[in-house]
């Protein structure tokens, strides 16, 4: 099953190296991966193949990795209730342009090297038909879990 993992890390490249190693060790098969620098860190978006029963564990594992500031995972929803799309446009941004014409209210969450993650706010849900823009893949996703809000931290009692 395909999933989209979106991560934000601190600025230490070691954290990104750890992520790649975790994907390898946990048997997460990467279909597409893109990385972008933020002001104080990196954003990573990975389209992955992994069995459904493993995803929750991987999410939990990733969110407690030192240096990972946020993790969100999305389930591929070809027919269902999707509010997000992932566009793998490569060098050709025409599909992105057409998508934005159809869904002008879309919010860009991630964009790097022709890979885009967009949220479609409101009640408009993208159907498979509405995402048929030719050869390039536009995949609808539903957000499953995010590490925001952060775990509650309570003062230690002695």
């Amino acid at each position: 099953m395909q999933w989209l993992l979106a991560l934000e890390t601190n600025g230490d490249p070691i954290t990104s190296c750890r992520l790649m190693n975790i994907f390898r060790r946990k048997g997460v098969s990467i279909v597409t991966l893109a990385m972008a620098a933020r002001t104080e860190g990196f954003s990573v978006v990975a389209l992955v193949e992994t069995p459904e029963h493993e995803v929750d564990h991987i999410f939990n594992f990733l969110r407690r990795v030192e240096g990972v500031e946020n993790v969100t995972y999305y389930r591929h929803e070809p027919e269902g209730d999707a509010s997000f799309v992932f566009i793998d446009a490569d060098a050709d941004s025409s599909s992105l342009a057409r998508f934005l014409q159809t869904f002008p209210e879309s919010k860009l969450i991630f964009g790097s090297h022709g890979k885009y993650l967009l949220e479609i706010p409101g009640d408009r849900k993208p159907s498979s038909a509405s995402l048929d823009f030719g050869k390039q893949e536009i995949l609808p996703f539903a957000r499953v879990k995010s590490s925001i809000p952060q775990p509650e931290l309570v003062a230690a009692q002695t």
Partner: protein, 585 residues
């Protein structure tokens, strides 16, 4: 402009501010500036004979104190030699900070002498690793390293220190609070989750508490005991959890799993509720997963969200520090019961009786009357004569399992074992680290002849510093656990398990200036043990055992707990009578 210090001085001051009193290491080229600063620093450093021992000693120090253990290696081989110890600490969630030398910043990536990619190598073996790029960064990096090591699920952290950073000058700014004072306890569960868990406990008839290293890491043993006593639920512990619940307590089931007792494993197979606290459903505990506690609903309390539903699906997962979570659970349970009401329904009393009958049916036992020294007897005798707060540090193999079965656990943080990684060579240096933490307590390294030969070079260290560690070698002249598996599962096709070509350990100890004796007759064991424990000097006893002895019960690999092989008792005697008789000899 304030006063300038070099990186080495800033590092040592940062360690001092994190309350580091002692660390374990071995100098080399790039860390010479650090050792120069150490010369007048007031922080104690123990010179080990191999960096692996430094990592294990730091681990032992951390386990007995609950504080961060610190070790150091130079660049290249010094750093790589630490890796096994760090991986063991990672597997067992032990807070260790490893300091490694690195070649000067301009030389990194140029294949300089004694350069290696320490950060890359240590990545999967640590919670976090830092490469320090400026002396001015040292106070905050060290502070973060200590905080990371001890917070949440504890674990090892590595700080890589280029020589140029150790030598350059900077004006340090130290964090105002030490990392340990900022310990935060994670709590992700909601009140309604606790209410549901309490409901399940109250409804259960055949519940078992399954406690692991997380109970010890969170200092939650009092809460565990209170929960057990309030609800009359028996407690089994993992190898990591030994000491979290007293062995002699009527509700104690001892260790479960591959070498758990018949009664313990039967109780897991038949329980209707399993409450896991700080455990990870390790394969050595569960056996065949689909059959593990298959009749039971499951509650899992753990600080690490990644542990929930990793191996076994649970009905309620409570992500949080074990102590905070158990306290909340106790509060709800007490509120829901009128004061003074007995929480032991008749069904639970019947459950405890059933466990007792399993215990009587197949107790842990061995041949107590032969001439040969039996390892179980040695462990029981050591435990019998050891001080109430003695610390036992074991290696890996048969003797480790016998110690887990036959040592009487009285207090938490008195049991050191490389449990997850199962690293032979751990027991002796870990004991050394524990002894440095508590110089006045008895620390007994119970090791096999195989594992001891992996780190025995540190006999020099205990001799040099007169570290009064007691070393008990359970010597069967073979790699015993491998031999046992070859015997049982590989049709006695013994291959490369023979360790008869070993030194005379007693004479070897003597050559280091440590008193050593060999004991090869059963009746000599009590006197030898009494003498062994009688002083404050490092000592060694080499117990020559019946080499054919095997660890029972055993769950065959891949089998379920119900398929355990229970060796029938060879001599049917009342256990207590027999032991009294033996100690009287």
């Amino acid at each position: 402009m304030g006063r300038q210090f070099n990186g080495s001085e800033i590092l040592l001051e940062s360690l001092r501010r994190e309350n580091v009193e002692v660390f374990f290491g071995l100098p080399g080229g790039v860390v010479l500036p650090l050792y120069d600063a150490l010369y007048s620093s007031g922080i104690r450093h123990l010179l080990v004979r191999h960096e692996q021992a430094a990592a294990f000693a730091a681990d032992g120090y951390a386990r007995v104190t609950g504080r961060v253990g610190v070790c150091l290696g130079t660049s290249g081989p010094g750093a790589t030699n630490l890796t096994t110890g760090l991986t063991s600490a990672m597997m067992d969630s032990i807070p260790v900070v490893a300091l490694t030398g690195q070649v000067a910043l301009p030389l990194i990536g140029k294949d300089a002498f004694q350069e290696c990619d320490t950060i890359g190598i240590s990545m999967p073996s640590t919670k976090r690793s830092f490469l320090v790029r400026s002396a001015a960064d040292l106070p905050s990096v060290i502070h973060q390293a200590f905080k990371t090591a001890i917070s949440g699920r504890p674990g090892p952290v590595l700080v890589d220190l280029p020589k140029s950073v150790l030598m350059e000058s900077a004006e340090p700014t130290y964090p105002t609070t030490p990392g340990i004072a900022q310990l935060e306890r994670i709590r992700e569960w909601k009140d309604e989750d606790i209410e549901r868990a309490a409901e399940m406990i109250l409804e259960s008839r055949r519940a078992v508490l399954y406690a692991g290293g997380g109970v010890i890491a969170a200092n939650a043993w009092q809460e565990l005991r209170e929960l057990a006593e309030l609800t009359h639920i028996p407690v089994t512990t993992t190898l990591m959890g030994l000491g979290a619940f007293p062995s002699a307590h009527p509700l104690s089931l001892g260790m479960l799993g591959m070498h758990g007792s018949y009664a313990t494993n039967q109780s897991i197979c038949n329980c209707d509720l399993l409450i896991g606290v700080g455990v990870r459903f390790d394969d050595r505990v569960t056996g065949r997963l689909k059959d593990f506690a298959s009749l039971a609903k499951k509650i899992h309390i753990d600080v690490d969200p990644a542990e929930l539903n990793k191996n076994v699906r649970v009905d309620i997962g409570l992500i949080g520090d074990a102590r905070e979570t158990l306290r909340a659970l106790l509060e709800v349970l007490k509120r829901r019961l009128p004061e003074g009401k007995d929480l032991t329904p008749p069904a639970r009393r019947q459950w405890l009786q059933r466990i007792e009958s399993w215990r009587s049916e197949y107790p842990l036992t061995y041949d107590k009357y032969g001439h040969a020294v039996k390892p179980q007897y040695v462990i029981q005798t050591l435990s019998h004569y050891a001080a109430e707060d003695a610390i036992a540090s074991v290696d890996v193999g048969q003797h480790q399992m016998w110690a887990a079965q036959y040592w009487e656990f009285r207090k938490p943080r008195t049991w050191l074992s490389s449990s997850g990684l199962g690293s032979m060579g751990y027991g002796f240096p870990a004991a050394m680290g524990a002894q440095l933490a508590f110089p006045n307590r008895q620390v007994i390294a119970i090791v096999g002849d195989g594992g001891f030969q992996m780190t025995l070079n540190d006999l020099a260290t205990v001799a040099q510093y007169r570290v009064p560690v007691k070393i008990a070698i359970i010597n069967n002249r073979s790699l015993g656990m491998v031999r046992q598996w070859q015997e049982i599962f590989f049709e006695k096709r013994y291959c490369d398990i023979d360790l008869t070509f070993s030194p005379d350990f007693a004479k070897l100890a003597e050559s280091y200036g440590i008193r050593g004796v060999r004991v090869d007759h059963r009746t000599d064991v009590p006197d030898a043990v009494r003498d062994f424990l009688s002083d404050r000097e490092p000592r060694l006893i080499d117990f020559w055992l019946d080499p054919a002895e095997n660890v029972y019960p055993i769950v065959p690999p891949g089998g379920s707990l119900a398929e355990m092989v229970v060796e029938p008792p060879r001599v049917l005697v009342e256990e207590e009578e027999a032991l009294d008789d033996l100690w009287a000899v």
